[in-house]
């Protein structure tokens, strides 16, 4: 029963604030599609438009090519899981889960026995059958989240929307639920849209994702595409922890060689990079990007491509993050905990030009990744 969802140029303004603008994407049947962005980016607004709670200013939302824009939320046959779980406090778990099926507009669709059976099945699927007679206030965060899921899935809806569903669970449970959620949704074959600010979730769960920033769509692609080939600085920054290091630089031609020169560093370009620069006729200012995982520390400062001074060394258990000051900019590097760098130690940074990203400073667009 999985459907295709087409979102076309969705725009919504609240008063003077533009929440989302010209957002378009398509979710294929049975796909798990993620909306990734920081808080305030417009993810919830997008989900609320799709569910029908909020009416967009312009744009269209189509389910299997039929527009649902004028259909009230209760008739759209979508379901949603909320960050706050939104369980009905005055109903038991079983009653919470049965609530959607008992809606007046669905009266007659299922007999009470069928409803009971469906609730039982769903509870077993989510491993909560023993909780059916409890009230929400007696449950832990993880249990509440599963009840919320149960209530959303009990109807076998056409589209499943999730708004930061596992944000408030502890680390162990979050890992576990990422896998569970993905399996659940794939087993049932329901088209799903997931909103999250956590790129780890996107990488672990989503087939494809959309990067949202200040209401604008930046890029759509598989998690790997977004990580390896970000189309601009915003996308490069959105995926990866610690986030990508971005340093301003400009082209310098000296002695027949092309260099990237920035505050406190000069890096020679290789043939590949040179040809990209030539072909794009770049003379503008650029932004040079390196992921902390792609940089290594060289204790002998002279041996590194870039020199800097240790600003802070933070061991994180097993590995460490060193913040190196290059002129005035701070560059983060993931390195082994054994390095044990001390503040103000002079070190060198090494990396391969293969892993470097170059962006145009003005437009933010990627020229080389």
């Amino acid at each position: 029963m999985s459907i295709t969802i087409d979102i076309e140029k969705l725009t919504k303004t609240f008063g003077e604030e533009v929440a989302i603008e010209d957002v378009s994407f398509q979710v294929k049947p049975g796909e798990l599609f993620a909306l990734l962005g920081p808080s305030g980016a417009g993810k919830s607004t997008t989900l609320n438009c799709i569910s029908g709670i909020v009416k967009p200013d312009s744009g269209d939302i189509r389910a299997d090519t039929v527009s649902v824009l004028d259909i009230k939320p209760q008739y759209r046959d979508f379901s949603m899981v909320f960050e706050s779980y939104a369980l009905y406090p005055h109903l038991t778990v079983a009653e919470n889960m049965g609530f959607p099926m008992k809606a007046p507009l669905r009266s007659g669709e299922m007999t009470p026995e069928e409803m009971k059976k469906r609730i039982q099945e769903t509870a077993v699927m989510l491993e909560i059958p023993e909780l059916l007679d409890r009230f929400p206030k007696e449950l832990s965060g993880g249990q509440k989240q599963r009840v919320g899921l149960g209530r959303a899935l009990v109807r076998r809806p056409k589209l499943f929307l999730m708004d930061e569903p596992i944000a408030h669970l502890d680390a162990k449970l979050r890992h576990h639920m990422r896998g569970e959620l993905k399996k659940l949704v794939k087993d049932l074959g329901i088209t799903t849209v997931l909103a999250t600010p956590d790129y780890n979730e996107v990488v672990a769960m989503a087939d494809r994702a959309l990067i949202l920033n200040n209401g604008h769509l930046e890029q759509i692609g598989t998690p790997i595409e977004l990580y390896n080939n970000p189309v601009n600085e915003v996308v490069a920054n959105a995926i990866g922890d610690p986030p990508i290091n971005l340093l301003d630089c400009a082209i310098e031609k000296a002695d027949g060689k092309t260099n990237l020169k920035g505050k406190g560093f000069t890096v020679a370009c290789d043939k590949k990079l040179e040809s990209v620069i030539e072909s794009n006729n770049v003379t503008e200012e650029l932004v040079f990007g390196m992921r902390p995982q792609d940089v290594s520390i060289e204790k002998d400062a002279g041996k590194g491509l870039i020199q800097g001074e240790v600003y802070v060394f933070e061991p994180l258990g097993g590995e460490a993050v060193a913040t190196i000051k290059v002129d005035e900019k701070l560059v983060k590097v993931v390195c082994p905990w054994e390095d044990k760098l001390s503040i103000e130690e002079k070190v060198g940074l090494n990396f391969s030009l293969e892993n470097v990203h170059i962006f145009d400073k003005k437009s933010g667009l990627a020229l080389y990744t």
Partner: protein, 290 residues
Amino acid sequence: MANRKIEDIKHRPKWHITLVLIIAIVVFNFPIFWILATSVKPSTLITESKPVWMFRPTLTHYIDLMTGSSERVEQSTKGDFDFFAYLANSFIISISTTIIAIALAYPAAYSLARFRTLGDNYSFWVLSIRMLPPVVFLIPISILFALYRLMDTRIGIILAYLTFNIPFACWIIKSFIEDIPMDLEKAAMIDGYSQWQVMLKIIFPLTKSAVAAVMIICFIFSWNEFLFALVISFLKSTTLTAGAAQFVTGYGIRWGKISAACIIAILPTLTVGLVGQRYLVRGLTMGAVK
């Protein structure tokens, strides 16, 4: 100064508080006690200049009240004191006011809480009606009612009481509704419920204590109300409170009968209050803390 911490304060002896409470109870309940005493005191002893404490109690006043007999010498233009009719009126009016107030105020409160109905200041506008001294409305209502033949009707009194009860109910219920997270309504709508159904099935059950508190207060207010009942009612629609005014006659005040009427009048509200005090506290305080 030694470090005085929270633990020290906890161990303060309790007798201070007990004493204060006892004094408060005595002070607040003395009038009621006095009225109770007066209602069973023979008439002759009531008007003694020195208060008489020891006497043989009598039920004469209560009996006279209910049968409408004796003391016929001074009939006020309002006619016989028909105890049971008045009692019935009080009940009918109070209960009707309460039910109608809730029925109308609840959707209004929901609308004010959730939608920007008529602007952000409208709710304050509506609720400020309650802040005016009721006496301000007395003359306008009298004129209006006379015009529309609502004088001396139960409906008339109910309408008058609703003027105050609806804004009050609206105010309390609105702040209660505002405390309920909107996610619940969003979830219910997506689950397949219309706005009305959401209000009835989700919001209403969650505001039960506020509704109970409001109902208790509306009932008590309507039952105790005197001024409007006195002015509007005449013969058919007289309430117990208004009726008791009959005992203020040209020939003197019938203290015994008034006291008896008061005691009987207090009983329903006392019962409602005692039974519902749990809801009262919960209902009023949760709405007030923002």
